[in-house]
């Protein structure tokens, strides 16, 4: 079942690519259908997950690679727990959203939808893998569709950005591979559940902290954390809207997920020692990202930098080394995925209509596009951490979890949300409010179902989490509980 879910988009991609040229218009319908089925199946898994039992469920396992000469064994092993399930849900949800909002793509649509679906498979795989090498495999596969999507369907300096994205990520995963192999050699297994049981690492061929650093670099780059963040604004700015949505919504979460699932649960001792450093760079990232956000002129770049800031909260929460902080961190991944995804959808819509993202050129859009404005305000408010919307829940949980351990750094993080209010509101003030500009008199509001539907669904999700977060939070707690326990 889970395997089917993971590879369903891949099959869909194959189907789309193999469509004959004259059937090209079908491609988006096939893609949407496949994504919708995947979403439905994930929802089913979400409901079917036994919350009382917790732990990994829906496990599917097979030996994939076996070496007789050494204990080098790789498994195809997938399964879900409280941490991965919501992220899987987020992935499949945003996967569908991404396809819907690219309904009007007309440049090589078959390839486009196929790559989107391949991307979805790789992301589903990342969050479901129970074998570290398998995780790494899915982690790397994701590069290819991203590379194509940015470089072919992007805008602006797309080729440079695609490069930057790929090389940065590849750089990080290079270290991760060595880290994984060293770890696997030390522990004698790559199985994540078994790795979760090994004790402190003492006599590895390189010190435990070195293994930890090798692995976490990749995650920090992906998250991204200052100073490894400069790929993000470029990639976001030049990627097509749907890809920005996935990138902000899901791809960054791979980093956070990795930190929680790999770095922290496998090497709790090192993580504990490192927590103060991690919290420091997290706080730095939050403030740095926020400061950078304020002066951006390009809407997408602005949101991209805000992601840098917001993903800092994930690391901050993680460095709390406690259930509350970890839950907050994982919650933050989910809510940031929804909120920033929505922001990118909206910016994409504005860009599609106005053909510019320069804040200085835009003004008074609220007159022409009340619906988009309303949604922008909702998403913006959620992003700045307004209570009753999703962002607040996760951020406050992060703060509550972290404050005890890192008082000063958490305070810095709290200051970050004041910045968030600043850049979000200032942006809305400049772009949407103000006199109606005759230059924009011809713009139309979002009216099509494939525009409104995703936005309303995202709003509903943001509200649902914001008002009653327990339905997600309990699940996350089940997921991070064991990790927190190991962290002691």
């Amino acid at each position: 079942m889970l395997t089917f879910v993971i590879f369903l988009p891949l099959a869909g991609a194959a189907a789309v690519v193999l469509l004959p040229k004259e059937r090209e218009p079908w491609s988006k319908w096939i893609a949407a259908l496949v994504a919708a089925i995947a979403l439905a199946l994930v929802v089913f898994l979400f409901i079917d997950y036994d919350r009382d039992a917790g732990g990994f469920q829906f496990i599917e396992r097979a030996t994939w690679l076996r070496s007789d000469n050494s204990d080098f064994k790789l498994h195809y092993a997938v399964g879900l727990d409280g941490l991965s399930l919501p992220l899987l849900l987020l992935t499949s949800f945003l996967g569908l959203v991404a396809i819907l909002i690219s309904w009007r793509i007309d440049l090589r649509p078959r390839e486009y939808y196929a790559w989107l679906l391949v991307l979805e498979t790789s992301l589903l795989g990342v969050f479901s893998s129970l074998d570290f090498i398998l995780f790494f495999l899915f982690w790397e596969i994701e590069l290819v569709p991203m590379y194509f999507l940015i470089s072919v369907w992007g805008s602006g300096n797309r080729i440079y950005s695609a490069w930057k994205y790929v090389l940065y990520t590849f750089f990080g995963s290079a270290f991760m591979l060595v880290g994984i192999l060293t770890l696997g050699f030390t522990a004698g297994t790559f199985d994540i559940r078994e790795l979760g049981q090994i004790g402190a690492i003492h006599d590895a061929i390189i010190p435990a902290w070195a293994i930890f650093s090798l692995i976490i670099i990749a995650f920090l780059i992906k998250l991204p954390i200052v100073p490894f963040h400069t790929w993000l604004p470029d990639a976001h700015t030049d990627a097509p809207t749907a890809v920005s949505v996935i990138l902000a919504g899901v791809l960054l979460k791979m980093g956070g997920y990795g930190i929680l699932r790999m770095s922290f649960s496998i090497m709790p001792d090192v993580a504990k020692d490192a927590s103060v450093y991690l919290a420091s760079i997290a706080a730095l990232s939050i403030l740095y990202g926020a400061m950078m956000t304020i002066i951006q002129k390009d809407l997408k770049r602005l949101i991209a930098y805000s992601s840098v800031s917001h993903m800092g909260y994930v690391l901050l929460g993680a460095s709390a080394i406690g259930t509350v902080g970890l839950t907050g961190a994982s919650m933050q991944m989910l809510t940031h995925g929804l909120i920033t995804g929505m922001l990118f959808v909206l910016v994409g819509m504005v860009y599609d209509r106005a053909h510019t993202r320069n804040i200085d050129e835009l003004s008074g859009l609220a007159h022409r596009m009340p619906f988009i404005t309303t949604m922008m305000v909702v998403a913006g408010l959620a992003s700045l951490g307004l209570p009753a919307l999703a962002g607040f829940v996760s951020e406050v949980t992060v703060f509550l979890g972290t404050f005890e351990r890192h008082e000063f750094l958490t305070t810095m993080g709290v200051v970050g949300i004041a910045f968030a209010a600043g850049y979000i509101l200032w942006t809305i003030q400049r772009v949407f409010w103000g006199e109606a500009d005759p230059k924009w008199a011809e713009l139309t509001d979002a009216t099509a179902w494939w525009e409104r539907g995703p936005l309303l669904a995202m709003t509903a999700a943001i509200l649902a989490i914001g008002i009653y977060p327990a339905w997600m939070m309990d699940l996350f707690e089940k997921g991070v509980g064991p990790i927190a326990e190991r962290l002691g």
Partner: protein, 492 residues
């Protein structure tokens, strides 16, 4: 008789080569006959390859393994693995040469030389006596000298000159090294040399001579493996040689080089102090090869030359496996099997890439990477195949390159060579730039012309086989892993 049976795979190729030459002489010279001869030669060559593969399979099925020809040749899992690999590569090269053959009158000679050099390569993998190794080495070398110059134009001839000159120097080095090895041990059989090396090798009286012999051998064979600093010929020759021959050099010749290096170093020099010496040497060479190869590839504009530099880097990566061999038993096998596995995986990938280059370059009449712009629009399947191969070379899943990367770096880590693994993976990042740049050119740039094109049938088939194999290894690597481990088990 046993001897001949065990020589079967090689004989199949030789017989095919002989028949091709005879057929060429026997049939009359005429327009119709030329076409028939070409087709017949093509078929005979493929039949020879098939026979070779089939015979190897028979040897396995009949469990017909062991020494032959008074201990100069051995049929074991290692040599059988290389039989399959080299015969397979040869078949692919024959397929890939179809277009080249159509343009030359020496098609019979071409095929005969390819098959003869393949025989030499197989013998290199199977020979366990220095004399046999030397002669086999030379057989394939001399055939390749000619093949490199086969186009007989200015560039091809120059490439041949360089290849020959460096090759001859390397042969001299090898020979001198072998002489010292013989002088030290009094034997030419690898097992006998191993006895000497493990008994007294490395004591202070003979150490200098042993080091000298080892280095000379490594240098002479390093020419075949194309590792720094014995790699200088590679880019020039790759660029100048006919593309199928380039592919052959980069895959088969390299594989045979590694096979013979593994035979000599693991069997004869695998024990005693000297093994840690050469392991360190190989580790350094690996690091330098990867770095230099990748760095130099960065700014190349000619795709064949770029692939040449990249193959230097790849060779460095294989060497990691050899360097990892120095440690104790189980690791030794992992290092060796990682090299074998990598060679297998790399064969499909590189062949795929070269075949695509043959097909594309011929149509766009250029080897310049810049001219690959927009090929995805003009020939989607070729572009996709080339892109897949380049992605595999980069080491991105789900391709053979990824598994190979994981496997070989795993061997390095297990042999305590974390630093080498780190250099290796970081080099992977560098390599991503120049590999994916080609992909980018094909997909994200506008084509100069809208005219579409298709590869010829034989190229298409070869391409399909290569790409399918590459993905198959990437997705289900177990059979190849098992095969390479049993091959490596020979050295256990």
């Amino acid at each position: 008789m046993t001897d001949v049976i065990r020589l079967g795979p090689e004989l199949a190729l030789l017989i095919a080569a002989g028949l091709i030459v005879l057929m060429d002489i026997a049939l009359p010279v005429s327009r119709e006959a030329a076409r028939t001869k070409r087709a017949l030669g093509f078929a005979l060559a493929l039949a020879g390859v098939a026979g070779s593969i089939g015979w190897s399979a028979v040897l396995i099925a009949a469990d017909e393994q062991g020494e032959a020809f008074s201990g100069t040749l051995v049929v074991d899992d290692f040599s059988l693995f290389f039989n399959f690999l080299l015969a397979g590569i040869t078949g692919m090269i024959v397929l890939a040469s179809a277009d080249l053959l159509a343009r030359t009158r020496f098609h019979a000679e071409y095929l005969a030389l390819v098959l003869a050099s393949a025989t030499g390569m197989m013998l290199m993998a199977g020979a366990v006596d220095l004399i046999a190794i030397f002669v086999a080495l030379e057989l394939q070398s001399i055939c390749l000298y000619v093949l490199v110059g086969f186009l007989k134009d200015s560039r091809s001839a120059e490439a041949s000159l360089k290849y020959l000159l460096l090759g001859a120097v390397s042969t001299a080095l090898t020979l001198y090294g072998m002489a010292y090895l013989f002088g030290l041990s009094g034997a030419t059989g690898l097992r006998d040399i191993a006895e000497f090396v493990s008994a007294s090798g490395g004591d202070s009286g003979t150490r200098a001579a042993l080091v000298l012999a080892t280095v000379f051998l490594a240098a002479g064979l390093g020419f075949k493996m194309a590792v720094v600093p014995f790699q200088m010929w590679v880019p020039d020759v790759y660029q100048g040689a006919p593309t199928p021959v380039t592919a052959y050099l980069s895959v088969a010749s390299k594989a045979a080089g590694f096979a013979v290096v593994m035979r000599i170093f693991l069997v004869a020099l695998g024990e005693g102090l000297i093994s840690s010496d050469w392991a360190t040497m190989f580790a350094v060479i690996a690091a330098v090869s990867m770095t230099a190869g990748n760095l130099m590839a960065l700014v190349q504009t000619d795709i064949k030359r770029m692939l040449g530099y990249s193959s230097i880097a790849q060779a460095g990566t294989f060497l990691i496996g050899l360097a990892a061999v120095a440690a104790q038993d189980p690791q030794l096998l992992l290092g060796a099997s990682s090299v074998v596995f990598f060679l297998g995986a790399y064969a499909f990938t590189n062949l795929g890439a070269f075949i695509a280059v043959i097909a594309i370059s011929q149509k766009i009449a250029s080897d310049e990477i810049a001219d690959y712009a927009g090929v995805a629009k003009r020939s989607p399947w070729l572009a996709a195949g080339l892109a897949a191969c380049l992605i595999s070379l980069t080491g991105i899943p789900p391709t053979a390159g990824f598994i190979a990367k994981v496997y070989v770096f795993n061997a390095a880590v297990q042999a305590d060579l974390v630093w080498l693994a780190l250099i290796g993976v970081l080099n992977g990042v560098v390599s991503a730039y120049y590999y994916l740049r080609v992909v980018l050119n094909m997909y994200a740039q506008e084509p100069a012309s809208e005219e579409t094109f298709q590869p010829s049938l034989s190229l298409g088939v070869a391409m399909a086989i290569a790409v399918a194999g590459m993905f198959l290894i990437g997705i289900y690597p177990n059979p190849l892993i098992q095969a390479s481990e049993s091959a490596a088990a020979v050295f256990g």
